[in-house]
């Protein structure tokens, strides 16, 4: 079964996967200084993993989906801040393991990938529009 706009399912899946990735990066950046997360400890950064799956339309193209959002368990730095309510008895505060530069790079990669997929859709749209002019 062929769509009028070819590859639209595959591209749409990639757009939503990249969107999830950007959401997760946003969450990481927002919580870059959260020393008291939902479980009472410092926030742990989250990582998105992608996996491909055969497109249900049966053309052989592969869509992409977010397979899991896992937690990065590398320990974050501890800083000396005795005035902080989360400080331990030595005055050290466990900070989240979020590295802002890593997150920014991730954000940029995700948004470039998003743009590349938008270019694909734009191209497919032009092709479909051209197909509709056959005979005119």
């Amino acid at each position: 079964m062929m769509n009028l706009i070819s590859g639209v399912n595959v591209t749409a899946s990639a757009l939503s996967a990249e969107q999830v990735r950007m959401d997760v990066v946003a969450e990481n950046i927002a919580n870059a200084y959260t020393t008291h997360g939902t479980d009472g400890t410092a926030y742990k950064r989250k990582v998105v993993s992608f996996e491909s799956m055969l497109d249900p339309t049966g053309t052989g193209a592969q869509s992409v989906k977010v397979s899991q959002i896992s937690t990065d368990s590398t320990p974050g730095p501890a800083i000396y801040d005795p005035g902080n309510p989360d400080a331990n008895k030595d005055g050290m505060v466990q900070m989240p393991n979020v590295n802002l530069s890593t997150e920014m790079v991730d954000l940029m990669t995700a948004s470039r990938a998003y743009e590349a997929n938008l270019a694909v859709i734009r191209n497919a749209r032009q092709m479909a529009a051209k197909a509709l002019t056959i005979g005119h």
Partner: protein, 126 residues
């Protein structure tokens, strides 16, 4: 007369190639969508189709060419550390040339139909 226009080898060939370029677009969309999927291997139009197409084009009978399909590209070489072998710049370039090819084919098919219309009505459509 009309049959001869519709069974013209060039016209037949361009119809098949329109299907093929649409399928190839799907393959390239899949590659660009999976540019960051670890272990993904790029796909492209099956060699089966292009081989059969060029052989049958020489023989002058395109009726037995199989429908274009997508398969993993065995010629792709450079593989990244995560097992993915998609090169985004190459894919985008392929996509531009593919849609240009699609445009050319639509122009040709349109031209053939316009010729027929001119023959029927005795004047050009516009």
């Amino acid at each position: 007369m009309i049959e001869s226009l519709f069974s013209n080898p060039n016209y037949e060939a361009s119809k098949l190639l329109l299907d093929a370029t649409a399928a190839r677009h799907e393959a390239l969309a899949s590659n660009i969508a999976n540019v960051e999927t670890p272990g993904y291997k790029r796909v492209d139009l099956s060699k089966n189709f292009s081989d059969a197409f060029s052989a049958q084009l020489k023989a002058g009978d395109l009726s037995s060419v199989p429908a274009p399909s997508i398969q993993q590209d065995p010629t792709a070489t450079t593989e990244r550390q995560d097992g993915n072998n998609v090169q985004i710049d190459k894919e985008l370039m392929d996509m531009s040339s593919n849609s240009l090819q699609y445009d050319t084919l639509t122009e040709f098919v349109s031209g053939s139909l316009k010729q027929l219309q001119m023959a029927i009505t005795g004047r050009s459509s516009m």
